[in-house]
Symmetry: C2
Subunit: 448 residues, 2 copies
């Protein structure tokens, strides 16, 4: 009987994060203040983030200790399992070994909880009483609601209205963890009131929700802001995924030929792939493959430039692959991948050819997710279906080639079953993203 689960004994728990910035050959360009075009120091960002996280955001240190309080809460679901997809391998008739790191075991059902706990901890350390954030599909909002409660922090989540209405269970989950949720645009902030006055029936957007969470933050002394992806410190927190996976593979004497993760803001891919970068720099023959939706092809068709992280131009300028901060992707059901930009660390890895990227269509990803569910049992989140599809493509391109594939199953799809229902009913479509549309969207990149 082939061993399916590779368990990491508790005494081999990962105790430090790996900061890939320390190993980027070209270093990382700093965020810029849009008002001055100059690098933005931690002083100015201190109004919205605690210093502990800003230090990590700027850090050049290779290894950063994980505080005991974070490790204790992580114990609820970490080390997460590394599972060999034996039944998927059989169904595909491949000689490839396919492993997946399963992050859906966390309380909120995705990898987001890793960083949520860390962010809540550093805020608590500095006396913050309350966190404000936005959420689109809801995974981040659920993760932060849980983590905030664990540290006795209040939490307010601005949830994009269309998701708020379409995914009522996400809202209940956040309530269960004691958080306050409001549909965005809301009557609780100046931006929310303004948008509602103009367009009372708006479905909302992540751009509006970010603005609301930031306005909430700066309007109160007791509140800081938390972001679920993109930033260096978020990617750093997620490296526990790849560090555990490396140890687990070593336990069975294996090492990946290719490492795969889906890319929205970039944190789950960075978390799995970054710990393999040093090996690649030392000449190891390993491919790191990011998977994005064809409807939002940031890495495969975007520009590498300084751009805002949000539609409303309230963030610092980040040096990254971007489709333009006013690019609105089609409404695919992998809501977590509908982001115009990409984490600066991922963008740097791409720029330096330390990773590669591919863009996949919605229907082939749901097809892959369904095959995965029927063979391996777990129903993947629509975002994670992209990684599943890419793993299948790799395993079947040369089915007789013995190779080892590792991918991140970043979350389960139990709160996304309405999307599967639409897929089965034939109501989902693919989206082409013509080059002209991308050229149009990237026309408005900020001039420096």
């Amino acid at each position: 009987m082939k061993q399916k689960h590779i368990l990491l004994p508790p005494d081999q728990q990962v105790k430090s994060w790996y900061n890939v910035v320390a190993d980027l050959p070209g270093g990382l360009a700093p965020p810029l203040d849009p008002a001055t075009g100059q690098p933005m120091g931690p002083d100015k960002m201190g109004a919205i983030f605690p210093m502990g996280l800003l230090e990590q955001e700027m850090s050049q240190q290779r290894w950063i200790d994980i505080p005991r309080e974070i490790l204790e809460i992580w114990q609820i679901w970490r080390p997460s399992p590394l599972i060999r997809a034996t039944f998927l391998e059989e169904a595909l008739g491949t000689k490839a070994k396919i492993y997946y790191k399963y992050e859906g075991v966390s309380p909120s059902g995705s990898h987001k909880t890793n960083s949520a706990v860390a962010q809540a901890y550093y805020n608590k350390q500095e006396g913050v009483k309350r966190l404000a954030t936005e959420t689109g599909a809801g995974q981040w909002g659920c993760a932060l609601s849980f983590a905030a409660h664990k540290f006795g922090l209040d939490c307010k989540v601005y949830m994009v209205r269309v998701s708020y209405d379409q995914k009522p269970y996400r809202k209940v989950m956040m309530n269960t963890y004691g958080a306050e949720i409001v549909a965005s645009p809301s009557p609780d902030t100046p931006t929310g009131r303004e948008v509602l006055a103009k367009t009372p029936d708006t479905p909302g957007s992540l751009g509006i929700a970010i603005s609301e969470a930031l306005e909430d933050t700066v309007s109160r002394d007791d509140t800081k802001y938390a972001l679920g992806s993109v930033l260096n410190h978020v990617c750093l927190h997620q490296t526990v995924i790849g560090l555990e996976a490396k140890q687990q593979l070593a336990l069975v004497g294996d090492y990946p030929d290719v490492v795969i993760g889906c890319c929205g803001g970039g944190s789950n891919f960075a978390g799995l792939a970054a710990p393999f970068v040093p090996d690649k720099l030392e000449g190891k023959n390993i491919r790191l493959l990011g998977v994005e939706p064809a409807s939002c092809p940031t890495l495969t068709k975007g520009s590498f430039a300084y751009d805002f992280g949000d539609l409303s131009q309230r963030t610092p300028l980040l040096y990254m692959y971007t489709l333009g901060h006013d690019f609105i992707p089609p409404g695919i059901h992998a809501g977590g991948l509908r982001y115009h930009g990409m984490a600066p660390v991922i963008s740097a890895l791409m720029r330096e050819k330390l990773m590669e990227a591919t863009a996949l269509q919605q229907l082939e990803c749901f097809e892959a997710g369904t095959l995965f569910a029927r063979t391996e049992g777990i129903i993947p989140a629509p975002e994670s279906c992209h990684a599943v599809r890419a793993a299948i493509i790799e395993a079947t391109r040369e089915p007789d080639k013995p190779q080892t594939i590792l991918f991140n199953l970043s979350g389960h799809g139990l709160l996304d079953l309405a999307s599967y229902e639409k897929y089965f009913a034939g109501e989902l479509v693919n989206y082409e993203m013509p080059d002209e549309a991308i050229a149009e969207a990237t026309k408005n990149l900020p001039k420096l």
Copy 2:
């Protein structure tokens, strides 16, 4: 740092089921043919169950080997984790150690998958092509849909209409696993058509759905019937839960003072508790505590008698605690606990005072589930909330008493969040079950 997860190494996988029937001091009374009042042999039941399962149903053998094919599929989620509820302990301020065995890690999210895989296997072995079943809340339907597909069997699920409408995600989950689902009553069977003609707006009932699944089964040569609880073979399959838990506790040098599980049909409690019965018979000081809803108090207020397993009197007569086969419990949200009877093996343990039972109200159980979610992260299924509540009661009665509590967290509540929403909105109520109502319901027990 206290160890939270107790992992069972793969080489310590449980390889045999424990059949508590072999150790029941008074033995187990056989099922009776309602037409003759005589014991019903496997020959007559062979029309609806495969012989492999009927042999287990009648078996007196203490240990029964688990076939390799079942162990292979179980590897997807087994051994399931045993987790110490350190954060709940802290919140309660108790010196008790609280451990929970977490069965929500299975693909369909509950312990039901253990028996579903076994049942699909034995049906496949005997050339069955298709399974028919009913489901109320949906956990069993999802589990069987998954298991049937793993063995290449078609599966048709008759789902009680009110659940079908209230829990649309359950239906999608079954579709994802390739099963055919129909709301019951359906136009597909004589009983369904009859009920629909008389009462087109009926919410349906488990009694009607069982009738439909049985009619479906006997109308075709390629189909057998599958049941998710109550029967001996189902309880047998679930003993993997308690066998693993014993080994896991032994790894940390612990042993429970009290073992707790919620009781609907009885299979999850039997699965956890039965393996501790031999120790109790040998004089070990251990309590086995079944928890039922106050609105359906089978063990605490029911009669011990021969009764039908279903409303429509199509099953053999089972010797068990019962509230009467025409007892309709109030609509509490722990749908899996709304059963008038109790597994004959559980009933025998109760009768012989090898276990005890308690009945809890709905609101205190949701309150406990919410506290559990906020401390331990996992949102429990409404059924499992009953076990959580009972564990809390045990741990806080004498908070300074060092004791070890083990309970079964039989499933997660991610597809039951609508029930939590109603709880938070103050829309749920408790139900008293007056003795007169029970006397009335048990008036119609079959005369032998």
